[in-house]
Every structure is written in structure tokens, then in C-alpha cells.
Symmetry: D3
Subunit: 118 residues, 6 copies
Amino acid sequence: MENHKLVLPEHLNHYGYLFGGNLLKWVDEISWIAASRDYPGCKFVTIAMDKVEFRRSVRQGSILRFDVQRSRQGRSSVTYTAMVYCDDIETGREENIFSTHVTFVCLDDAGEKRALPQ
Amino acid sequence: MENHKLVLPEHLNHYGYLFGGNLLKWVDEISWIAASRDYPGCKFVTIAMDKVEFRRSVRQGSILRFDVQRSRQGRSSVTYTAMVYCDDIETGREENIFSTHVTFVCLDDAGEKRALPQ
Amino acid sequence: MENHKLVLPEHLNHYGYLFGGNLLKWVDEISWIAASRDYPGCKFVTIAMDKVEFRRSVRQGSILRFDVQRSRQGRSSVTYTAMVYCDDIETGREENIFSTHVTFVCLDDAGEKRALPQ
Amino acid sequence: MENHKLVLPEHLNHYGYLFGGNLLKWVDEISWIAASRDYPGCKFVTIAMDKVEFRRSVRQGSILRFDVQRSRQGRSSVTYTAMVYCDDIETGREENIFSTHVTFVCLDDAGEKRALPQ
Amino acid sequence: MENHKLVLPEHLNHYGYLFGGNLLKWVDEISWIAASRDYPGCKFVTIAMDKVEFRRSVRQGSILRFDVQRSRQGRSSVTYTAMVYCDDIETGREENIFSTHVTFVCLDDAGEKRALPQ
Amino acid sequence: MENHKLVLPEHLNHYGYLFGGNLLKWVDEISWIAASRDYPGCKFVTIAMDKVEFRRSVRQGSILRFDVQRSRQGRSSVTYTAMVYCDDIETGREENIFSTHVTFVCLDDAGEKRALPQ
């Protein structure tokens, strides 16, 4: 799944670059959407992230492109690889600025793990 | 261009449905991203919206799908049609819940209208 | 009804001007308040906006004045005209920077349209 | 000066009532707007609040009415009395739910106190 | 109790300093946490603040240190003194920039005042 | 370093529990504060997180306690271990709900890595 986001002044840290915490929040949301669309009817919660790497600082006005792909499916959990690319407004070239793996587990109404549909 | 957004409790009105003002804010942002990607190097500002229609209330937990298409290009302005669909998490069926036309104008560094690249 | 709002850094786009999406959100909220005060006991939802026009960019530190007036009443819907003026802090002169028409419909508890009190 | 605000779910504490910190933030903003409109060209900063009283809890969906009046003018400072009333949507009756005094001082460009215009 | 907070661009006023309303919101939250930890099982609401003093402007990037101490206990209410210090990132020296007294009252499930545990 | 945070309705996901993205944002901010206080004068940016584990869902009204400790110092980078505990308001017992390792790198004014002070 692909998604886009504009970096506004409200998202910056005091050095004038995108505050990493906002990027993490967006990645969690977009990966969750991808999982919920792949498995309709499943109730997912995030249980882990791994290899979170911030590769380059991002300036305000940047358009971010999120690319989220399913990379591993277990019995009741599924992992997505999230890559974020920065689309420079003026030149149009893009660069990978962030990557991570996000793992979700599927819960039933009682909050217990349940098997994913195959 | 396509984009997705999850409706969280922070986006609701006091009736428990998505607050329309948040939807307008997202549509403005996503249409702007579409225009900026179609015309790299252009500095766009929103000048108008037309036929803004809210067709159905949206509950929290809904996944919204934004579909933004260029519908008219003028000399220095461009109009996008934004349609928003609601993806019911449990059934997976989607419905059109919102539509509008957003018009941007391209400005030069002095803030004057400038012709769009053809 | 009249209302005021201060434009803070958190409301800006990356060009340093008020992000249009925030203005739309405020107009929706203030028009809704006007309708709810004019018709106590009615439950209103926004169904349309028309002729949304952004006339001038707004800098941070600006004080916005919202003027919202009822312009048309139907059987179960009502339209307000919202004008926004920018009050320059230093000179005190004001200018119209935005206008639109917002239409609300009155719903009963089952979510069906109901007639407005006359 | 009079102003209105709608209490949305994003403004609540975990008891389901308006979080006091949000009310304080709104009172500071609206009083500042009142002062800046009364003294065009002055740069004000908040230096004190006194007798801050929360008189009643406020539910979501409430429309708040802020009434801010100048109560004392010194040489370089000015105090406003802010009263907040809650407008019950269904009955239309209003009640005083909050009051305080906010004092601003007028600064010059070097950040030093300067006399208010008489 | 001690707490820390980083001042980001989203917290600034249009002069480029911390917006006082945000500081008030943080002080209310942190004092409430201190009270709730000192009296487990009590449901507290803020009823008053007194002698709110903003002593110095705060720049973005500042690390604030909140120091909250219980100063007076009544039968059903308790008052905390909140001091805020600004930790200059580069020199490491700190200065008192804000102080106030916050009073909470303990409520039972019916919303009536109840005695604090001794 | 220790810090506290109250979970409010604005922080929830649509299941009624703390949205993981907000927790990640807070952990990034608090770890950054810890690093900046340990190395006055250093300009830090987050470059990695590892072993991000969400151990238990968190309800609104919970008081979170963040415990951040330096775990490894390299030449120009430093790693902190962040543990988050949930303090149940009514019973007062706490449980570990989240853990991760956050790595920062120290930059000079040109944006190049620079050695940490020993």
C-alpha cells in the first residue's frame, strides 16, 4: 500500500527538521491500515517494531511517500516492511529516508490471539 | 492519486462521528500533494472549493480512501476532483461519503500568478 | 454571530502562511455553533459547502474575525454565510480574506431529517 | 469581547469532562486577542493570572461563551477579567463555569516594558 | 514530583516564544498526576489556580523541568505548588520561569466532595 | 531520567486503548531530553530504535511512568533503554508495558557526526 503526507511546521523539531516521533506515529497508522485492509474483519494491535532506521533529516514542505508491504505472516501475527521516501518538491527526485518492520497480532473480542484467515 | 486515513477518537464530533472540519483539512492537504506531484517546482495555494458534499456520517475506526484526480487545467490554475470513500473494516465494502472540487493557483516567488508548465 | 481566532505557528503551511485546511475546520465549527444557538435543541450535521473562496494569504500573528449570518432556511436545512476578515495587529485595518456558504441539516435521534422549528 | 468554542472529544479528560488545561489555553488566547484589539500596535505577553476558578464540569458538545472585559489599566500592563459561560445545547440556559483575571504587559522590540498608549 | 518537556515549534506563539496557554495546560496535567499518585484511588478535579506568574519568555528547543510539591492539605481538597525551570540546552544552567498553586478537590462517584484519606 | 504522562481521550485508538504511535512519539521525545541533559551542548538526532515491544494495552486515565537509562556510549552515538510502566490509578500497582532502545548521534553545526565529550 502507498500513502503520502506533507510535512508542515507543526511536525518539526526545534532544529527545523521533521520530529522523528511524528514519523513513527504515521508509520504505525499506515501499516495498521495496510494490515486491516489485507485481513478484513481482523482486529489488529501493534506488538513490535524492529530495525527502525532514520536515514536522513527531512525538511518542512517535503512530501513523504510511504510504501508498506507484507513481509512475513505467522499464525496469528503478520509483519509489514515500511519504507518512507522523501519527494523533493522542486527536483522531483526521491530518496529512502526511513525503514522499519512492524508486527501486528490479531485479537478476538476477548483480547486473546486468534489465527489469521489463510 | 490515492491516499488512506484512519478515523481516530481525536477526529470525532460530540455525536461520535467524524467532525467535518477534519475531513476538509485532509482533502485540502491531499489535493495539494497531488497538484505538487503533477507539477514539480510549482508553488500552489488553494483558492477555491466547490460543490462540497458530505454524503454520509463516518464512524471512528473507519478507514477512508481518498481518490484525487485532475479535472481541469487553466493557464495558471488547476482543479482536482476529490472523492472520499469509506472502507468498512468488517465487511470490506466501500461507499462514497464525500466529494468536492479543489482549485489551486500556481504562484511565483513574488506571490504573483504564473503560468503552469504544459 | 462573531468569533475571533489567533493564527499561531502550528496553523501554518510550509510557505509560512495559514494552511487553508485549518481555516475550513474553524469555519465549519463556528457555523455549526451559530446554527445550534439559533435553533436550540436541534442536532445539526454539515451536508454542504459552496463557493469556498480563499481571497488572500494570512500571516502568523493575524487575528481573524469570523462573521456568520443565516442566509436561507429550508424545511429541514439551513444555510449560513461565513465571511472571515483579517485584522492586521499593527494597523488595525481589516480585509475580507475568505467566504463560503455552509448548509446544515437537522436530524432526529434516529438520524432522519426532521423539520426545523419555525 | 465575546467568543464561542465547541467542546469536542479531543478536549476531554478521562472522566469524560472538559480537561481544565484546554480551558486555560483558550482563555489565554482569547484574552490576548482582546488586549491586542484594544491597543493596536502593542506587543503583549501574559505575565500573570489570578483567582482562577473552575466552577462546574463541562460535558462534550457544550458551547462555551467567553466574555472578556478590561478591568484595570496600569502604565505598561493591563488586566482583563475573563468569564466563561456554558450554553446547554438543549435547554439554551447558560451558567458561569469559570472565571479569572489575566494580566498582560506591553513590550517594545528589545523586549523591555513600554508604556501603553492612553 | 519532577517532569520534563521539550518546547517544539508547535508550542510557540507568533513572537517565536512558548505560548503561555500550553504551559498552563502542562502544569494542570502534571499537578493532577502528582495528586493522583499521592492519593491512589481518589478522583481529582482542578478547582482553582492562584498566583500564576510567567517570569521569563521561553525559546523553542528549551527543556522545561516541572517541580510539583504538595503545599497544603484540607479535608477534601489539596494544593500543589508548581515551579517550572528552564534548562538551557547549551549552558546547562536553569532558571525559574513560572510558578503557581493548583488546588484539586476529591470527588466520589456521584460527583460530591469526599474526604481525603489521612 | 524519569517522566510521567497521563493518557487522555485524544491519545486513544478506536478500540479505546492508547494508540501505539503516540507512545512512540513520547518515548522519542523523553529519550532525546535524557540525552541532551547528559551531554549539554550536543545536538542530537534519532538514528535508530531497536526491539520496540508493546507488552500490554493501556486504558485512558492511565498514568505512564517513563524510565530512560543510558545503556551504551559509542564515539559519536549513544543508546538509551526506555522502559514504560503503567501506574493503575486505583490500585497503585505498576506493570511494564513497553520497552525499546533508542540511539542518537551527535551532530556539529554542519550536520556532520562529531565525537561525544568523554
